[in-house]
Amino acid sequence: MRRITGLTLALALVLAACSGADQGDTTTTTTATTTTGSDTGEALVLYSGRNENFVQPVIDSFTAATGIEVDVRYGGTGDLATTLTAEGDASPADVFWAQDPAFIGGIAKQGLLTELPDDVLSLVDPRYADAGGHWVGITGRSRVMVYNTDLVAEGELPDSVWDLIEPEWNGRFGVAPTNGSFVAFVTGMVLTEGEERTLEWLQGIAANDPVIHDGNGPIVDAVVAGDLDAGLVNHYYLLQRIDQLGEVPARNHFFPSGDPGGLVMAAGAGVLAGSDQQEAAVDLIRHLLSEESQEHFLTLFEYPLIEGVEGPEGQLPLAELPTLDISLTDTADTLEPALELIAEAGLT
């Protein structure tokens, strides 16, 4: 008798594995009324890998102009990309806005993004859009080395990221190897240097006692505070800190053209193929590429990608940034290898 009840329970558990989530409905229906209208087909759903300060003002202006509500799910680009992958066709998202080309490229490769109309794609330099037209760059972000001017002498500044695996940089710099922007930088490196050399560099970095962070922000803050000499980050973090705190003892150092350290990444957006509001979704992207929106991004020191809006004050203009002879579209193909190489090098 006991055995039978035990068996029944075990069976119930297995069954639950298949149907658990909706069984619970009945117990909590009273709270259902507070559900937001995310899947009612009314509001657009934007998965944003960009943070709220960056995104919300342009969303508000979009809603004011079109009357279309937008629900924004903020998260890490990688978090959201994995979520989109897991959701597949069932995704409630209409638009995905990533920080880096690699992850959105990966989503495009899975066939989850629809092709954007030409009038949208033609707004930006083709270098900053998907070759297949599945995503378009909204802003440009340059990889740089931020350094503390008290701790790093001008003459010490490296000419290449390869210098960072040398003993003189041991323990002096920070990286955020799990952050999307670092991963994107490695995807570019795989394209220019090949997998073997990239692994060599990653292992060299890992062996050079780097300070590991989860994001760029903490690295920049550590450099600004003088806790850390230097770090591989995106260019705008430091500019934002200067804007908030005034003059700080830190500078951005750009690697020369051709060095993998100098990748300029497009933070792109695309429309989900499964979206039932394609038109509104494209309108949203169009809005992101409007002059008004691009001016807003400029206040946060990213590079606008449309014609007629200048780059951040006191920084190299977009056209004069060091270049790397790769297609951002191809970074989607090197995403898997890049992730594997980072893991293999033990950078976590």
Binding site: L13, A17, S19, G20, A21, D22, T36, G78, D227
Partner: protein, 538 residues
Amino acid sequence: MTTASPPAVVPQRKPSVPKRRRASAALWVMALAVTIPGAAPIAHLVWTVLRPGGFDAGGIAFDRLAELFGSTTLLVVTVTITAVLLGTTTAWLTTRTDLKGRGVWSMLVTLPLVIPSYVGALAMLGSSGNGGVVSLALDAVGLPKLGVFHGFWAAWGALSLWNFSYVHLIATPALRRMDPALEEAARGLGASPRRTVFDVILPQLRPALLSSSLLVALYVISDFGAVSLLRYETFTRAIYTQFRGRLDIAPALFLSGFLVLAALVLVVAEQRNRGRAGLAARRPTRPPEHVALGRRARVVAYGFLGVLVIAALVLPLVTIGWWAIRGTALGNPADPVWAEALRSGGGAGAAAAARAVAALPVAILTVRYPSRPARMLEAVSWSTYSLPHLAVGLGFLVLSIRYAPATYQTVVLLVIAYVAMFLPQALAATQAGLRQVGPSLEDASRSLGSGGFTTLRRITVPLVWRSLLAGGALVFLTVMKELPATLLLRPTGFETLAVRIWSASSELFYTQASVAALTLVGISAVPLYLLVTKDLHR
């Protein structure tokens, strides 16, 4: 009439607690309905690992697993030992010594519970390093600045500081209930004070220490925010790294499944151990004696408590307060977080209410109709509680996308997940309440003509109402702080305080993070205060 042989008195167990009573089918249905949703993702995760080929499909190298296992174990063991030592000491000092202001101290060492470990970690980051609050203060008096807290020692410190209060909470009533007569008996039989501690006091504390150790250990396993912020690699952080770093959820699911298995082993081990440890609860005839501390011991004790309260409560509050004020003064964006507060409070409130209601059938089943299936049901719900929320959240995420898309990213699913994760908290409180309501009250109601449901409504619920509230308050407190599952399962746009703190701190917008953190701490303090005053100062 039969004739019995003369009094060969056969000792028989008197069924004082009526055994083998049969629970109604409706009760079972309700109990299962509230337990199964929580068990489903667990079953799914375990299946992910144990299914044929699951290990290969996980794509995680064995070396990596071993490494994670090692680093996680190290943290779990050290933090558990530290927290138990700290919590037992504070409990002893505030119940069994003649220190002044014991009630206030007890309250002060309980209050760190309002500080989620990730807020604590954030405060540690904000106080150390060149720009940190403590560093600046040290600098001002000519002392060297603190280096940035990170890595093992930082994680150990943070998790110990913001967990020892659980031990304090559990050990305090255990120490208070201890019958001083037992200690006196030991002393009377010639045992030294030291031997008395080891032979009499510790064995009585054993169940409390065991269960609080388990609580702390499971918390450390599941901690996500603090280890991420302080950069110490554990299983849970690795799960998140996999989740955010890959375009594939499988490796994260695999690691989650693995972690769930490890946590289950821990839970089962504790249950077995507890089964053997069962000590008859004695009701002491008088309150315990207070040990008179010598002058030097008194100074040490005040110093210990003071340092602990400063480190676990004052410093983090000062740090986040300082960041909030400094940021606002500098004109940094520090929008009010009322909407988030409302969502946090609303979500937590809904979960607490749903949980308290859901706990009732399971509590009735386990207390009034003890049986093996009922115990299994209880164990299942405990196991959900003890598992890392990130893993459970991933399980819910995958299951709802696949099998219940209508609930995906809805408050309904979020509340179900909360309910599943925190069932035992409310359960324990409700069970305790039910045990105090003698079954004879329900029998009395039945014999006076009331059916099962009427009895529940008119007698049982009114009498366990306070316990339900206490359980609800505990759930409220925990849900307010919950981060990883909320991050994964929240409806789009449903930014809670915890999510806000997390996203702001990962971008290092200290001002925003600190305003949200202060709000969270303020709101959490209310239910905690109610709980503490209820449990400790009565």
